[in-house]
Every structure is written in C-alpha cells, then in structure tokens.
Amino acid sequence: MTSEDTASSEPAPPKISTEARPEPGTMVPERLIGQPDIITVSHVDKWFGDFQALDDVSLSVKEHEIVVILGPSGSGKSTFIRCLNRLEEHDAGRIVINGIELNEDVRNLNAIRSEVGMVFQQFNLFPHLSVLSNITLGLRKVRHLPRLDAEALAIQLLERVGIPEQAEKHPAQLSGGQQQRVAIARALAMQPKIMLFDEPTSALDPEMIKEVLDVMQELAESGMTMLVVTHEMGFAREVADRLFFFDEGALVEEGTPEHFFTSPREERTKLFLSQIL
C-alpha cells in the first residue's frame, strides 16, 4: 500500500488513517489501559535487495509502555527498531509515531528524530568530542540552545546517569558501562518521548551490565516509552510491560512477561526461550 498524495499546497500534518489500524494488542497490561497509542505500525515490509528482513509487521505501543523485543539473531529486531526513527526506510506499510507518519517528507523526519532517542549496541559516541560536548551537540546545533543552558542540562543528565564527574573526559577514557550511560544521556538530552535501545548491554563486560540496566530501569519508572532489544531476560521479566517475539522478519508472538515465561503459545517462541533461559 502507498501513502496518499497529499496536495503539496497545504502542508497538513499527516493523519492516522482509520482503515488500516492493526488489530489491537492481545494482552495490554492493566496499568496502560486507557493510554493512547504512541507508535502504530501496520503491515510493514522491509527488503534488502531480494531478502525480506521484515514481513508484514503490525503492532502498536502505548504511551509510557516498556516493550522488550526478543528473537534469534537475524530475525529483524534491529531492522525493525531502526525503521522507527528511519535509519532504515520501510518499503511497504505505515509507521505513525505520535501522530506523525514516517515517509519521504523531510519535515516529518526532523520531527520524528526529535521525538525518538536511540541508544546503540556500540555506543557510537563521538570520539573527538568531550562527554559534555557529546551531550550538548544536539541541544546546541538542532535545538539552538545557548551554550550555558545546554551545559547545565547536560550536567543534570550526567547526574541522572550517575557520572557527573566525567563531563570533561573524552569517550575513550571511560569504561564501556560509562560510555553507554553517556550515550543514554545524549539521547535523553533531546527530550524524546520514546527511547529505542538496540542491545544496549551486549557489548559490555558482565560487571558493567547492571549499571546500565539500572539507569534504564530508572528511566522506565519515570514514565518514558521504551522499546528495548535485549537478551537480558531479568530486565524483560521485571521491567517490561509487553514482550514481542520476532522470527524471520515476522512478529510471531506478543504478550506480557507472565504469558511468555509461563505459557508461550507458538512453538518457535518455546524453542527460543528454552535455548536462552
């Protein structure tokens, strides 16, 4: 399906079309009943050449919801999450985030980028900038905040992730866990409504995983909407409202942690969980 041709003369904000709503989530946790959907994904396909990485994915995420995405390697988890801030462009279907549709429109793209923060497996901090500059960069160059205001905010964020004393250092001088916390602070600086995490602890030594998970848990408790690709089952069980299981590019099963860890429905889910637990 293609997006409608909007008349170029009137730049009306794209609306959520009613005809293509996905079927509502099977099991929405109680604390989120009545919350509006902040992410709506319907019938999304993604191809790399003639390899289909996403196959008819439809789901919705409510505001303040914590979603954990599971799946074997190569199942399209990263591809999916990267489609949500358009680091990848989807080939078919619709993605609507906070009322803004993701399409070729550059204005929409900029709006989305300021709504959605992203944390990468490899941190991807800017190695030539100090920790402080890493965090203030977006504030100053995209939000056009004065330097002092941006730095004040950055210090606050560093306090929140527990490393205000590292502000003047360069990323290479920090441990992996500290780097990832800086990356989280950098994403938070843009005051996003949604945070995407792509395996945030996979590149970390075991003793550093907890410090990053703690920050993420605190973030979850503060009401952030979060989508987390992770293999940390403890985090999934305790923090997640809902789990999505992907396999071969398709959304195979969704449900609460309780549902997943006690009575998964699909064979593939059972197999995956038995391997990972």
């Binding site: 680091l87 992203m118 030539h128």
Partner: protein, 456 residues
C-alpha cells in the same frame, strides 16, 4: 608510582618498590648503562667502535668543511638574490613585516594548542644563530639581522601571550565585567582627591588590566583560528597591496615560501568537497570527482606545470605565478582527496547513524562529526603530501620562467667567480628546504599527539 616493574632484562637488578628511591649512585648507574648499551659483547664492542669512528670522522669532516674549507661568499654575496631575487629593494620592509606576522602567528598557535618543548627551543635558537651567521658574514646585513631577531622575538611573544590566555579559565566575559575591572585598576588614579591608593598592590592592578583587555580562551581560539585561515591572503596583501611588489617580482626563497602554502591550503580546500563527492550516491557527482582525481594523478607535476605554462595561458590567461598556484593546488588536491576518502571509509558507520539519531542534518553531521574525525586520521599522509609539494616547488624552475631558491642558486654559481662553489650553494639550498620541512613534520607530530586523546 608504578606498581609493576618492567620484566627483568638480562642484568638489571630489580628492587622492591619501596627501595626504588634508594638506588645506587648515579655514577654507578651510568657505568652500568654504558656497559649494557655500548659494550655488551665482543661483537657489540666492535660495532660501537666502528660507528663511533665513523660518526667522529663525519663530524670532523663537516666541521672542517663548514668552517674552513667552504667558501660561503657564494651565499653571502648573493643573499638578496637567493632570498628575494627581483623583489624591489625599497619594499624590503614588506618582507620583514610578513615574516614577523607569520612568526607571531606560529608562536600564538603553539601557545594556544600545544607547547614548545626543549627540542623546539633548541631548534629555534640554532636556526636563528645559523641565519644570523649567514647575514653577518660579509657584513652589511645589520638591519636584516635585526629584523630577523625581531621576528623570533615576536614568535616568543605570541607564544607567551597565548599561554597567558590559556590559563584563563573563564569561557565568556561581558563588556560590563571588563569595564568594572578597568575601573578597579584605574579608579583612584584618576580621582581628584589624589594619587594611588597604596593598599592595592600594583600587581593586582596589572592583573586586572590584563584580564580586562585580553580575550578569553574561547575568544582567543576564534581569533587565532581566524588569523590562521586568513594568514595567506594577509601575507599576500602585505607583500603586494598599495604599491608593493608586483606578482612577477615574487622571487627566490620568498616564491617557494608562497607557492607551497597556496598549494597546500588550496589543495586541502578543494580536496574536502572532492572526497565527499567521490563518496556521493549521485552518480554525476561521483564520476566527476573520480575523473578529476584519476586524471590529475595520472600525470606528473612536471606535466601539469607545462599545462600552466601553455594551455592555461590560452584558457584563463593571467599571471604565470597565479596559474602556477592554481596548478599546484589542483594537483595537491587530488592526492589529499584520496587520503581523506580513505579516512572517511575507516570511520564506523555508527558515527553517521548516531549523528542522524541526534537530529543533525547531513551537512551538520559532515561538518561536526565526520570531517573532523576524517581529517584527524589523515593528518600524517596529508602532511607527507604537504612536504612533498614543498620540495616540488623547485620544479617551477625547470620549465617555467619563474625563479625560486634553487633556480637562483643556479644563477649564483653561474657567476664566474663562484663556479667552483656549487657544493656550498646546493648544501645551502638543501638545508634551507630541510629546515622548513622539519618544521612541518614537527607540527604534524604535535597535531597527532594533541589528537591522540580523542582516539578510539
């Protein structure tokens, strides 16, 4: 204190950490060092003796040649010819002014972003002495020596000023603060009731004046950076503007010193968009940039200088020196673009994605994230190319009717009385080129080390 001692080498005695300070006396250690490093075995001793003999003979030979054998009058009599050739004598002050400006700027930059080590001081002093000796030899160069000394003084002055500013921790200082500071320093001095308040020490006043008048570190960074960018045009203005020399009168070493920076800076300015263009997704742009790079690299500089001499004359005309500058920049750009492209390819793709995810536009992420890192990585090959083009400025003599240092040295030894002195002339030329190349490579090392901290 280091906790772990280096693994014990053959005969080194390892002391426990708490006894590190109470080591054997220096004389004993020196003796041990000599034994270990110079006379470890029979073969080692033989090698040491051979090389010491060789080095000693070489040194004696050089000293003998430089101070007794050589006839340096070929240089000192042709001082002006070698240095500035046909540059008008009555405009000499322009050369010194330009030199003072450049030296001061070098001092400022070093003070701002690096520091002069003991080796740098030694190098400056030795070079200074050598230059003064050449000027003094044969007399009549009193004023030139003075101007040169003044330039070196400016270098150190710039260095000291930049260091002083570097200590200033403040990022910004408003005009109001500055006025208040100045008032504090001079208030009672101008009051009618009389005289200085003796309780405020003069040092405090001086400090207040300094802080009030000097830019902050951030401001100074901008000023020195701006001056560096404008340095080349400013030097040309100093030399040429308002009845100065004409383009064609740029000659001798001065010409080398102008051609190379134009080639290097111009080359870098062209190379950056070329490198980005070659990585572009738009085929038209990509192919254009690739064609430029491959065609330019396909022919030697000598060939392109022919183009400057003949073909460009028909197309754009203009002064031959300007055409030569264009060719040098265009030629250097092709090589530098490839180095930068190589650096771009080594940058992890995550850097682009992180920049996007933060919300930077494509232009912003190139300017703020990608290019700074790529340029840092490519400092060593770019400086290598810069040194190459510096030496290649001598090629303009070969085919163009332009005369630079090497060409003028040739004319110096063509004078009948100096025909036997070609060795002296060429050694002088070589040393002159080496000094500048050495400065470039020092600066490059400094830049690399300063960047080291940001590396992965």
């Amino acid at each position: 204190m280091t906790q772990q001692l280096p693994a014990p080498q053959s005969q080194r005695i390892v002391l426990p950490p708490h006894r590190q300070r109470a080591r054997r006396p220096r004389s004993v250690r020196t003796r041990e060092w000599i034994h270990r490093n110079l006379f470890p075995s029979t073969a080692g001793t033989a090698l040491t003796i051979v090389s010491v003999t060789f080095i000693a003979a070489l040194t004696v030979g050089i000293v003998w040649f430089v101070f007794f054998d050589a006839n340096w009058r070929v240089i000192t009599d042709n001082r002006w010819l070698l240095f500035a050739g046909s540059f008008p004598h009555d405009q000499e002050w322009r050369l010194w002014a330009a030199m003072g400006f450049v030296f001061a700027l070098i001092g400022l930059s070093y003070g701002m972003w690096s520091s002069l080590g003991r080796k740098d001081h030694l190098f400056i002093v030795l070079t200074g002495i050598a230059v003064i000796l050449f000027m003094g030899h044969g007399g009549a160069a009193f004023w030139s020596s003075l101007w040169f000394l003044l330039s070196i003084a400016l270098l150190f002055l710039g260095y000291v000023i930049a260091r002083t500013i570097g200590h200033d921790r403040a990022r910004q200082r408003s005009l109001l603060t500055r006025v208040i500071l100045l008032r504090f320093a001079f208030d009672d001095a101008f009051s009618l009731r009389g005289g200085f308040d003796k309780t405020v020490p003069i040092q405090t006043r001086a400090r207040a004046v300094r802080v009030a008048l000097f830019p902050t570190r951030t401001g100074a960074n901008r000023i020195v950076g701006g001056l560096l960018i404008l340095a080349l045009p400013l030097v040309l203005v100093i030399l040429l503007a308002g009845g100065g020399a004409s383009m064609r009168e740029l000659d001798g070493f001065v010409l080398n010193l102008l051609l190379a920076p134009v080639g290097i800076v111009g080359g870098l300015v062209i190379a950056i968009p070329l490198a980005i263009g070659r990585a572009s997704k738009l085929h038209a742009i990509k192919w254009t940039c690739t064609a430029y790079i491959e065609i330019v690299r396909g022919a030697p500089l000598l060939g392109w200088l022919f183009v400057a001499l003949f073909i460009l004359d028909d197309i754009i005309g203009g002064d031959l020196i300007i055409r030569t500058m264009v060719v040098l920049a265009v030629f250097t750009a092709a090589y530098m673009a490839e180095y930068i492209r190589g650096a771009l390819q080594t940058l992890p793709h995550g850097q682009y994605e992180a920049a996007q995810a933060v919300g930077l536009s494509r232009g912003q992420s190139l300017r703020l994230i990608i290019m700074p890192q790529a340029l840092r990585i490519s400092i060593p090959p770019i400086v290598g190319q810069a040194i190459a083009i510096w030496k290649d400025t001598t090629l303009v003599t070969v085919i163009l009717p332009l005369r630079e240092l090497k060409g003028n040295a040739d004319s110096a030894i063509a004078q009948s009385e100096f025909i036997p002195d070609r060795i002296e002339a060429y050694i002088f030329v070589a040393v002159a080129f080496w000094i500048v190349a050495f400065i470039m490579s020092r600066i490059s090392q400094r830049m690399e080390r300063a960047q080291g901290i940001g590396e992965r």
